[in-house]
C-alpha cells in the first residue's frame, strides 16, 4: 500500500515522524513534488479564493498525488500545546479537501490534539494506526520509531541545519559574514521555495547568516511568549512572538524579516503585537514580507537587497553610538 503525504503546511516539522511511523507499519510513503508552477495553477483554480496561499497549495499537492498513491494522509491538527489552537483552517482542512474533490483516493485524517493532555499526541497516532492494523504493540512500536526519528531531526535542526537542507538536499553556501538576519515566519512559508519566492537562497547569495526559529531553544521561545499579559491561544502565534522576542531582546541578530501570508488570520494580530511591543520601542530593524500567489522573486530581491544594505550601513556608521543616545 502507498500513502501520499502532501508537501504542505506542517510537512517541514513532522515529515520524519510520519515517514518513520508509516514505514514501521509496512506502508510505502510517497510525497508530492516540490511546489511548481503547475501545482500553483491548480491550487489557485480549485481552492477557496479567500484562503491563504499555504492552504490553497494543499489543493494542488493533493491533485499532484492522486494518481500516484492508494490513500492520502491529511492530519487534522487541532492544537500542539496546552490550551492552544491551530488556525481554524488547519482544523477544517480535511473537510475542505473532501468537499472539493470527488475523484481522489480516500483521505485518512486523524486528530492531533494536545490541548488538554500530552497524551493527545499518542492517542492521535493510535487512532491513525488502527486504520491499518489491530496490533496495538505494532502501533506503539511505530509511534516510538516516529518519536526517535523526529528527535534526531530536531537535533540536526538545533545544530543549525535548515529543514530544506535535510529533507530536500539543498546545499547552502557557508558564510562567515558578520551580518545576521533572523527570519520570523511559519515553517511552511519560509521553506516552501514557491511561497517565499526563494527567500532563503536569495539571502544566502547576499552573503547573510540566517537564523530561523527551528534552531532556537523551544522552551525559551515559549517562555518569552508567556510574558504577554493575555496568553496567545494560537500555537504558531506563540512561536512567532516568542521567536521575535528571543531574537530582538538578546540581540542575536541585526535585523528581522517577518514573513506573513496574505490573509493569514492569526498573523494579522500577532504581527501587530510584535511591531507594537518589540520592534517600535527599540527601533529595531525589521521588514515585513507579505507573500501570496502574485509575489515575484524579483520584487523580493529588491526589498531584501535594500534591507541588507541598510543593515550594513548601520553596522558601519551608527553602531558606535553609545546606548545613552
Amino acid at each position: 500500500m502507498k500513502i501520499g503525504i502532501p508537501r504542505v503546511l506542517l510537512f517541514y516539522r513532522f515529515y520524519p515522524m510520519w515517514k518513520a511511523f508509516f514505514e514501521s507499519l509496512g506502508i510505502e510513503v510517497v510525497t508530492s513534488s516540490i511546489t511548481n508552477k503547475e501545482i500553483m495553477d491548480i491550487s489557485v483554480k480549485e481552492s477557496v479564493s479567500e484562503a491563504c496561499l499555504p492552504i490553497k497549495l494543499a489543493y494542488g499537492h493533493i491533485v499532484d498525488l492522486k494518481n500516484k498513491v492508494d490513500i492520502i494522509y491529511i492530519p487534522r491538527i487541532v492544537g500542539l500545546e496546552y490550551q492552544t489552537y491551530m488556525c481554524p483552517k488547519f482544523i477544517g482542512l480535511p473537510d475542505m479537501i473532501r468537499a472539493r474533490f470527488t475523484d481522489i483516493p480516500p483521505i485518512i485524517d486523524h486528530t492531533i490534539d494536545k490541548r488538554n493532555s500530552q497524551m493527545g499526541f499518542l492517542r492521535g497516532f493510535f487512532e491513525l494506526g488502527k486504520v491499518f492494523t489491530n496490533n496495538k504493540t505494532k502501533i506503539l512500536k511505530a509511534y516510538l520509531n516516529g518519536l526517535n526519528a523526529i528527535k534526531e531531526y530536531e537535533g540536526q535542526l538545533k545544530k543549525g541545519l535548515l529543514p530544506i537542507e535535510i529533507l530536500e538536499n539543498k546545499k547552502l553556501k557557508s558564510t562567515d559574514s558578520i551580518l545576521k538576519i533572523g527570519i520570523v515566519g511559519h515553517c511552511y512559508e519560509i521553506y516552501d521555495e514557491y511561497i517565499s519566492s526563494g527567500m532563503i537562497e536569495t539571502l544566502n547569495k547576499l552573503g547573510v547568516k540566517i537564523f530561523t526559529m527551528e534552531s532556537l531553544d523551544w522552551k525559551e521561545v515559549l517562555r518569552e511568549a508567556n510574558a504577554l499579559p493575555k496568553r496567545l491561544f494560537w500555537t504558531f502565534g506563540r512561536e512567532l512572538y516568542g521567536t521575535a522576542k528571543y531574537f530582538i531582546q538578546r540581540r542575536l541578530v541585526d535585523g528581522i524579516i517577518l514573513t506573513v501570508a496574505f490573509g493569514c488570520g492569526p498573523d494579522s494580530l500577532v504581527r501587530e503585537l510584535i511591531e507594537r511591543d518589540l520592534v517600535k520601542p527599540l527601533n529595531f530593524p525589521e521588514i515585513t514580507i507579505t507573500v501570496d500567489e502574485h509575489s515575484s522573486d524579483v520584487g523580493l530581491l529588491t526589498r531584501l537587497e535594500a534591507f541588507v544594505d541598510m543593515l550594513t550601513r548601520r553596522e558601519k556608521n551608527e553602531n558606535y553610538l553609545s546606548p545613552v543616545w
Binding site: 479567500e50 489552537y85 481554524p88 491561544f233 488570520g265 503585537l273
Partner: protein
C-alpha cells in the same frame, strides 16, 4: 467612570439598559457610519477582520464624546475575536488615550474575571442585579422578536418604509422601558402596529436564509442593511440566529443544549467545531433547506478563518441538498453597488427557478 461598549446590531439597547440600571454613566457609541469605519480602518492592523476595525472606530467615537472605560469580552480561540481587546488596547494606548478596560475573559483566570464583574455590579444589592439582568434579557428577547416580525412584514407592506418607521418608534420606546411588564407592552403595541399596516398579497414570496459570521449577520451597518434591502425586493430574509442565540452560544452560564444538537447535522461535512460560526453555517444551511427556503446567503468578513472553512464546504452542501447559495465576503472596500448587483442577480435566479419548478 463613563462606560462604553462595542455595539452590534440592536444589542446596544439591551447592554445600555443593563449598565444604566446598575448605576453607571453610559456613553453609547454613536450609530456606526462611514466615518466610524474610516477611523477604524486608519488605526487598525491592515489585515485584521472587519469587526475589529468597526468596533475600534466605535470606541474612538465614544471616547470623543467623553467615555473613559470600555466593556469588552475576551475568548479562548481559535477565532480572532478572543484577542480583539488586547490589540485594541495597544492601539488606543499608542494613540495617547488613557482608557480603563473591563474585559470579561475567563482565560486570564477566575480572580480577574470576578474583579472585573465586581467593577460592573458595583455596590448594587443582589435582588437589584438579578432584576436588572432580567429586564435586559427581556429586552434582548424583545429586540429579536421585533426583528423577526419585521423580516416577514417588510416584503408585504404596500407603502415602503412604514415598517422601518415603526421599528424606530418601538426601539426608542424600548430604551425607556424600565420593567419586564413595560417591555412586554412595547412588543404587544409593536405587533398591533405591524398588523395594521396595509398589506399586499404575494403568492410567490421568495424565502432566503441568512447564515454566516454573527457580527456581520446581525450588524445592520456592516451587512449593508441586507434584510431591509431584501425586504424592499419583496423577499423574506430570515436569519439563522438572533442576539439570543449568540448569547446562548458564547456566554458560559447561558449555554443551551438545543443549539449544540442543531449543529450535529453538519458533522458529515465539518467533523468538529472550527471556532466561530464555521460549523453552524453548514448546519443552518441544511436546516433552511429542510424548511423549504429557496436560497441561502452566506455572510462573512473578509479573511474570517472559520467561515473560509465553511465556504470551502458550502459548495458541496449546496449541490448535495440542492439549495442555491451566495457567499458575500465583506470588508472596508466592499461597495454597495456590488452587493446590490449580486443579490439582485441571485434573487432573479431564485425567482425563475421557482417559476420553472411550479410549471414542471
Amino acid at each position: 467612570m463613563k462606560i462604553t461598549y462595542p455595539p452590534f446590531g440592536d444589542a446596544g439597547i439591551a447592554i445600555k439598559s443593563l449598565l444604566e440600571d446598575l448605576g453607571h454613566k453610559v456613553i453609547p457609541p454613536p450609530p456606526t457610519t462611514n466615518r466610524t469605519l474610516s477611523i477604524g480602518v486608519q488605526y487598525a492592523p491592515e489585515f485584521a477582520c472587519l469587526p475589529l476595525k468597526i468596533t475600534l472606530g466605535n470606541y474612538i467615537e465614544a471616547i470623543e464624546r467623553g467615555a473613559d472605560t470600555i466593556l469588552m469580552l475576551g475568548g479562548i480561540g481559535p477565532c480572532r475575536f478572543g484577542y480583539y481587546a488586547e490589540v485594541q488596547k495597544r492601539i488606543l494606548k499608542n494613540m495617547g488615550y488613557k482608557i480603563d478596560w473591563i474585559t470579561l475573559d475567563l482565560s486570564t483566570g477566575w480572580i480577574n474575571l470576578f474583579k472585573n464583574i465586581k467593577k460592573i455590579i458595583g455596590k448594587n444589592s443582589i435582588p437589584h442585579i438579578i432584576n436588572s439582568l432580567k429586564v435586559a434579557w427581556e429586552k434582548v428577547l424583545a429586540l429579536d422578536e421585533i426583528e423577526r416580525i419585521s423580516r416577514k412584514a417588510r416584503p408585504l407592506e404596500k407603502k415602503k418604509g412604514r415598517v422601518d418607521d415603526i421599528i424606530k418608534e418601538t426601539h426608542s420606546a424600548l430604551e425607556k422601558a424600565k420593567s419586564i411588564v413595560e417591555v412586554k407592552d412595547v412588543v404587544t403595541q409593536y405587533k398591533r402596529k405591524i398588523g395594521e399596516i396595509p398589506k399586499e398579497k404575494l403568492d410567490n414570496l421568495v424565502k432566503i436564509g441568512i447564515v454566516g459570521e454573527f457580527y456581520v449577520v446581525l450588524d445592520h451597518f456592516t451587512n449593508f442593511e441586507l434584510a431591509r434591502r431584501l425586504g424592499e425586493m419583496e423577499v423574506w430574509a430570515e436569519n439563522a440566529f438572533y442576539i439570543e442565540d449568540i448569547v446562548r452560544i458564547y456566554i458560559p452560564l447561558m449555554k443551551s443544549k438545543v443549539l449544540e444538537e442543531r449543529t450535529k447535522i453538519a458533522i458529515p461535512y465539518i467533523k468538529r467545531s472550527v471556532g466561530g460560526e464555521g460549523q453552524r453555517t453548514i448546519a443552518h444551511t441544511i436546516e433552511f433547506k429542510k424548511e423549504n427556503f429557496d436560497g441561502v446567503i452566506h455572510l462573512l468578513p473578509f479573511t474570517c478563518m472559520p467561515e473560509i472553512v465553511a465556504e470551502g464546504v458550502l459548495e458541496r452542501v449546496s449541490r448535495d441538498y440542492d439549495i442555491p447559495t451566495l457567499t458575500l465576503s465583506i470588508d472596508e472596500q466592499t461597495g454597495i453597488a456590488g452587493i446590490n448587483t449580486r443579490i439582485e442577480a441571485f434573487i432573479d435566479m431564485l425567482r425563475s427557478r421557482k417559476k420553472w419548478r411550479l410549471a414542471s
